[in-house]
């Protein structure tokens, strides 16, 4: 018993030490929200005054894990597209609404939503049996409580807004010439209203932190 405690104590000290190294962290779901913008093509001239129009694809591509039991992510697609549209219009661009004239626009905008599931299995108790084989699993270990096994899913959601250079799209090439990418990422947790509100805020932020898009 004493020997086991002695063997375990450095590990506990290490846990306390690590907890001490990073004393603060996220407290609310919103604390993990982050917005990224990437200039995909550094040589692209965003200041080109001849680029004034955009075409916004009317469908959001939704991607979930292949084995997910619930694939309906219940986001307000129309509202998301409207938010992207408002931001582009506020920057001074004009939308091309006619599908037949989409190829005449300067930019093509694609919106997609990705939801990923990250499963973690954790357990506690049973004499630290799982930590490098100390003691034994279950009642034979050092402690009086049975092991508790928990599986947690950290579900992460992202919204991606791509700006593609329409003028450079080639029918011979499957690759779209993306020049800008905005990503809003966070925990996919909370009420539908809460998720949508955070999505909208993230869309606004990705345009706000890209002043070079301004006409």
């Amino acid at each position: 018993m004493t020997a086991k405690l002695i063997r375990v104590s450095p590990f506990m000290a290490l846990l306390l030490f690590l907890a001490g190294c990073y004393p603060i962290g996220p407290e609310f779901v919103e604390d993990l929200d982050a917005t990224y913008t990437v200039i995909s093509d550094l040589s692209f001239d965003f200041d080109d005054p001849t680029r004034q129009t955009y075409y916004l694809a009317d469908t959001i591509i939704v991607l979930t894990d292949p084995n997910a039991s619930d694939t309906d992510i219940e986001i307000n697609q129309a509202a998301i597209l409207e938010r992207v549209r408002n931001n582009m219009n506020q920057l001074g661009y004009t939308e091309v609404t006619d599908d037949n004239e989409a190829n005449t626009s300067d930019y093509l905008i694609l919106v997609s939503v990705v939801r990923t599931d990250n499963y973690f299995t954790t357990w506690w108790g049973g004499g630290w049996g799982g930590w490098g084989g100390w003691g034994g699993w279950g009642w034979g270990g050092c402690c009086f409580f049975p092991p508790v096994v928990t599986t947690t899913n950290i579900r992460v959601g992202s919204i991606l807004v791509d700006i593609v250079d329409s003028r450079s799209i080639s029918s011979d090439n499957n690759n779209l010439p993306e020049v800008w990418l905005g990503i809003g990422e966070g925990l996919f947790r909370g009420s539908q209203q809460n998720i949508n509100t955070r999505l909208f805020e993230s869309i606004d932020q990705m345009f706000r932190q890209s002043p070079y898009l301004q006409r």
């Binding site: 001490g20 190294c21 604390d31 929200d33 982050a34 917005t35 990224y36 200039i39 932190q209 890209s210």
Partner: protein
């Protein structure tokens, strides 16, 4: 040939006598220095440290006072007023910053969100101190620590973590005062230490002021 041998023998005899004299002198010196060392106290110190960021470190990364720090310090007395030793320490700085927009290195990516910033510093230094006052009285002291410091700096935004670790040259001028508590040579100790860790992996050096309070355990 025989003359050479004779000369050589004499030389050996001469060397032997010199060696004996040196040996006696060295033994005397060792015994005197041991005696002298035993006359004074050495000390081991443990401190609780509070740190205030300064300079560019404060302006560029963290400006919140750190309430998490500790240090250990061992000192051996060279004479009545001087000690030499080494010290180890650990100080954690952390700060939450809401709605921060930062361009990542390369200029291609910009990230916005709530940032959690951390700096863990671990100085490992040799030190020397000079003391005023009487051995058993209140003793103000001043000293200097020189060595190295390992620093682990992290910024977390969402699920992204930016990490930077470095070894730096560490310089720590310091002053303090010991208040004896009447048990052997033990004392309560207050000290003020300016830490300067120079390094080149970020655009600023780590500098901060430590206010330390601790206990000095004296021993022969």
């Amino acid at each position: 040939m025989s003359l050479l041998t004779k000369c050589s023998d004499n030389h050996l005899i001469y060397n032997d006598s010199i060696m004996k004299k040196y040996l006696v002198i060295v033994l005397l010196l060792i015994s005197v220095s041991t005696l002298k060392a035993q006359m004074y106290f050495s000390s081991f110190r443990m401190n609780y440290d509070v740190a205030i960021p300064l300079g560019q470190f404060r302006d560029s990364f963290i400006n919140q006072t750190s309430w998490r720090g500790m240090s250990a310090d061992s000192r051996w007395e060279i004479n009545e007023h001087t000690t030499a030793g080494f010290n180890l320490g650990w100080q954690v700085f952390s700060q939450r910053l809401d709605d921060v927009t930062e361009e990542l290195p390369g200029g291609q990516t910009t990230v916005n969100g709530t940032q959690f910033r951390f700096v863990n510093t671990f100085p490992m230094q040799l030190n020397t101190h000079y003391y005023l006052g009487d051995e058993y009285g209140v003793r103000p002291w001043a000293g200097l620590s020189i060595g190295t410091a390992f620093t682990d700096q992290r910024t977390q935004v969402g699920f992204l973590e930016m990490k930077n670790t470095s070894w730096s040259f560490a310089l720590t001028p310091q002053i303090g005062i010991d208040f004896p508590i009447g048990i052997d040579d033990s004392a309560l100790s207050l000290n003020l230490r300016y830490n300067y860790f120079s390094q080149n992996t970020v655009t600023y050096n780590y500098s901060f002021l430590i206010i330390g309070a601790g206990f000095k355990f004296g021993y022969y």
